[in-house]
């Protein structure tokens, strides 16, 4: 007797997170749809980079920092090539005059320029997503993470092929996608952080709106506490690693609220990022929890391809593209 072929999954998705400003990784993220033959792309937050590279106009050329060194170039071609390298590393090249550069010593000016640059970049990325996905059935679900400034929300909204999914529930195939880019408190005190109680309340408010929690997908930036997806080095107030016996002290830094919510609602799938070094797949009860990790500086995008059907997660793969 021939073995009966299993039915097609109801949803096949690609998930990645924490690309931190890498233009190369965003392009790969968009192309992952065709590459892995998925119908949905989910970006789990922390789109924005951490560094702004001033490209300062000088007599007969430009000066800019590349890989820790100051480089001086004269031709436009060479400059564009170096700017591309800077973008690949997750930093933002920004052309400016010497006067503008010198004004960056004012923290307020620097912060404003940072936000303007980050949002401008995300807006460009979303335009690229619309362009690349326009003639496909693929939808990209994108949310900001705790590291992303508020202006990013506006840059994500109103797109043709991008669904800004933060802090709400959207339909994705036969499943509901619950998304939240906020995290618990971090030593960096970033834009979107909540105390555990507030985080719990915020997700619970959303979860209560789910029609079928057991087939839902949680897309929550911060992973569950002590899940193996949240192990990181403990930091002190000055952001230096805490050393015990001369060695960095590793602790679980995930959210106790998220852990409790996953245990209570038992969604089919929980997608997380935030802790770059804690790549893995674990199960909490019946929920498959995934943190694909991130090595955004290497030019490879860490992600996960997941297939779901009515019974839950059918297949899951960690991928490195």
């Amino acid at each position: 007797m021939l073995r009966r072929r299993r039915s097609d999954p109801s949803l096949r998705l690609y998930y990645a997170s924490d690309i931190h400003g890498s233009d190369l990784l965003w392009r790969k993220f968009l192309n992952a749809a065709g590459f892995y033959e998925v119908g949905s792309l989910i970006m789990g937050g922390d789109l924005c980079g951490k560094g702004l590279a001033p490209v300062v106009r000088t007599n007969g050329g430009w000066r800019l920092p590349v890989a820790g060194e100051e480089r001086h170039v004269e031709s436009e071609d060479e400059l564009e090539q170096l700017e591309g390298l800077v973008r690949q590393s997750g930093f933002y090249p920004r052309r400016m005059t010497v006067d503008e550069f010198e004004r960056l010593s004012d923290p307020a000016v620097l912060e404003a320029l940072f936000e303007e640059t980050l949002v401008e970049s995300v807006r460009g990325w979303m335009a690229l997503a619309d362009e690349r996905l326009r003639d496909t059935d693929v939808t990209a679900y994108v949310m900001p993470g705790n590291d992303d400034p508020w202006g990013v929300d506006e840059a994500l909204s109103g797109r043709e092929k991008v669904v800004a999914c933060d802090d709400r529930i959207v339909r994705i195939g036969d499943h509901e996608l619950l998304s939240l880019g906020w995290s618990n408190q971090t030593p960096w005190h970033t834009a979107r952080e909540l105390d555990e109680d507030d985080l719990y309340a915020r997700v619970q408010t959303l979860a209560e709106q789910l029609e079928n929690p057991q087939s839902a997908i949680f897309n929550i930036h911060v992973p569950p506490y002590n899940s193996g997806l949240d192990t990181a080095t403990e930091l002190d107030e000055t952001l230096k690693p805490v050393l015990v016996g001369g060695q960095p002290h590793e602790i679980p830094v995930g959210s106790t609220a998220v852990r409790q919510l996953v245990e209570e609602y038992q969604p089919a799938l929980a997608l997380h990022g935030h802790i770059h070094e804690s790549r893995g797949i674990v199960t909490i009860g019946r929920t498959v929890c995934i943190n694909p990790g991130s090595n955004y500086g290497t030019g490879r995008i860490d992600g996960a391809v997941v297939e779901l059907d009515a019974n839950g997660v059918r297949n899951k793969h960690l991928v490195n593209g």
Binding site: G51, P65, E70, E111, N146, W188, T298, H317, V319
Partner: protein, 545 residues
């Protein structure tokens, strides 16, 4: 106001960073340097791995061999260190070759190297017991006149059961440390290294203090009960000469080449540090490659300085004689003439024997721990890529121990160790295992050579995107490291005394392991394809455009 300014007068242009969460890696530059040093720590080399060449290749000039051997090690560290800096992920040659050449080539390479490491683990364990622990007990017992310690040492050397039990204890301890996470592991590593350094510092002081020549008196006093001669020192020199050993052979350049090969047998592997690349801080900077390069210098200086001191303090003729007599019928002592024994006699001190014995055992435990890391990391990388089931990378939530990978590594290690203790044929595998390390090294060198073309964006965005003329520096470095691995292989093939007595066995093992890797790859690929994603795609680079 002018918007432009001469470059010379302008303030430095720097990167501005903002407050954002970040990846914090566990292994700092100093720990990474220590890790690289422990791949072939100089106390271990001085105790076990080099002075046998006095007998095998008389006249082989050790100093020239050190110079050339460690120079080769330097080029190997530069070539493979540069490659690993461009993609610092844990998984070693599997990741570097797999991501650059082809995933299947990466897996074949990794099977070769992992089996080399597993076989090495069995022999390091055996050497730890019969080359460090037992002789140290005997040396302490002999010098301190402790019959119990003497008996323990000789029992360990002669009883297979005790050898097995002691080795298993060492393996379990080191595996437990590997499984305990980086915090304890790095403490263990650094403590082992620090204890080893204390021992070498004591040896250094004792040997310098012996500059007046008191060693001969101390040795004669100690040895009389074994040789029954008042001047055992000269008696042993004469005994060796009578046995046909040239105790003052001068330099024989023909015999220096295989000694260079012997040195390369331990000097060219500081790149082993690539196996922890994913955990090293600032691994995408030159600091990562510099750690491996620095380790070459430390180990080179260690063996050079202490060899000079040994020859100076013990006398060249005597040192050659006693090492040549070792293992033969005219060697009078119950323990080999390793530095723990001789330096303790020079210091005329049981305490020195204790310190040196403990320090050598600590270094050997560090070496064993380090080797046990590689298979665990390779299995993690296979599991994350879908080649092995993901359960292999399972980390226990309570203890944070990667129980399956550590358990598998321990099982393989115990099996091979049992083979080493109770069987007679594992040694044949071990002596050809060098090929299983050199061929992956050649493949990594090829990866380094072609990286700027195969992974252009990765190379361009790394700190290694330097050209010499029009040729990428990493390509030149890859050519050098390939040439060094090839040279080492040729030397081992040409001089069977270095251990590679059955080169066709090496070819056989390479073929068997390659076939095993191919089978595993295609089985995994079939399974993954049924699960909706081919193995090739799981690790292939997504085209960005």
């Amino acid at each position: 106001m002018s918007a432009e300014t001469p470059a010379a007068a302008a303030p430095p242009v720097k990167l501005f960073t903002r407050q954002a969460t970040g990846l914090v890696r566990d292994v700092g530059p100093l720990s990474q340097l220590v890790f690289a040093i422990l791949t072939a720590p100089f106390p271990w080399v001085l105790a076990i791995a080099i002075f046998w060449t006095f007998t095998a290749y008389p006249g082989g000039n050790l100093y020239i061999a050190y110079g050339l051997g460690y120079l080769c090690g330097l080029f190997a560290a530069i070539g493979i260190g540069m490659l690993a800096t461009t993609m610092p992920r844990s998984g070693g040659d599997y990741v570097l070759n797999g991501r650059t050449l082809h995933p299947l080539i990466g897996l074949i390479s990794s099977f070769w190297f992992t089996v080399n490491v597993l076989v090495s683990i069995a022999f390091i364990t055996e050497t730890l017991i019969v080359g460090a622990l037992a002789p140290s007990l005997v040396a302490i017992g002999a010098i301190g006149h402790h019959q119990t310690l003497l008996n323990w040492g000789t029992t360990l050397e002669s009883s297979k059961s005790w050898l097995f039990v002691a080795g298993i204890i060492a393996l379990v301890i080191c595996c437990a440390v590997v499984g305990s996470g980086w915090k304890l592991s790095l403490r263990f590593q650094n403590a082992a290294f620090a204890i080893g350094l204390v021992g070498m510092a004591v040896a250094f002081v004792v040997l310098l203090a012996d500059a007046g020549g008191s060693f001969v008196d101390h040795f004669n006093s100690f040895a009389q009960s074994y040789t029954h001669k008042p001047d055992s020192y000269h008696y042993l020199i004469n005994r060796a000469t009578a046995d046909g050993i040239n105790v003052n052979p001068g330099t024989n350049f023909g015999n220096t080449i295989p000694v260079v090969g012997a040195v390369m047998g331990f000097s060219i592997y500081t790149w082993f540090g690539i196996n922890i690349a994913g955990e090293v801080r600032q691994a995408r900077t030159w600091k990562f490659a510099a750690g491996m390069i620095g380790a070459v210098f430390v180990n080179f200086l260690g063996v050079l300085i202490f060899t000079l001191l040994f020859v100076h303090a013990f006398g060249g003729k005597f040192f050659t004689a006693i090492n040549s007599l070792n293992g033969g019928p005219h060697y009078p002592f119950p323990t080999p003439p390793f530095y723990v024994f001789l330096v303790a006699i020079a210091g005329n001190s049981e305490a020195v024997a204790w310190i040196l014995g403990i320090s050598l055992i600590a270094i050997m435990l560090g070496l064993l721990w380090l080797n046990l890391l590689q298979p665990v990391r390779a299995m993690f990388a296979y599991a994350f890529d879908g080649i092995f089931p993901l359960k292999v990378a399972h980390v226990d939530r309570r203890t944070h121990v990667p129980v399956v990978a550590v358990g598998l590594t321990l099982t393989f290690a115990i099996g091979l160790y049992a083979w080493a203790v109770y069987g007679s044929s594992l040694f044949k595998v071990y002596v050809v295992a060098v090929v299983l390390a050199l061929v992956p090294m050649m493949l990594m060198s090829v990866s380094a050579m072609i990286l700027p073309w195969r992974r252009r964006q990765l190379w361009e965005s790394s700190v290694m995107n330097i050209r010499v003329g029009s040729v990428p520096l990493i390509t030149i470095a890859g050519v050098f490291s390939f040439a060094i691995a090839l040279f080492c292989l040729i030397v081992f093939l040409h001089y069977p005394g270095l251990g590679l007595t059955h080169p066709w066995d090496a070819v056989k093992y390479l073929a068997i392991l390659a076939a095993a890797a191919i089978v595993v790859y295609f089985v995994a690929s079939a399974v993954r394809s049924r699960q909706g994603l081919s193995l090739a795609k799981a690790t292939a680079e997504i085209p960005p455009e």
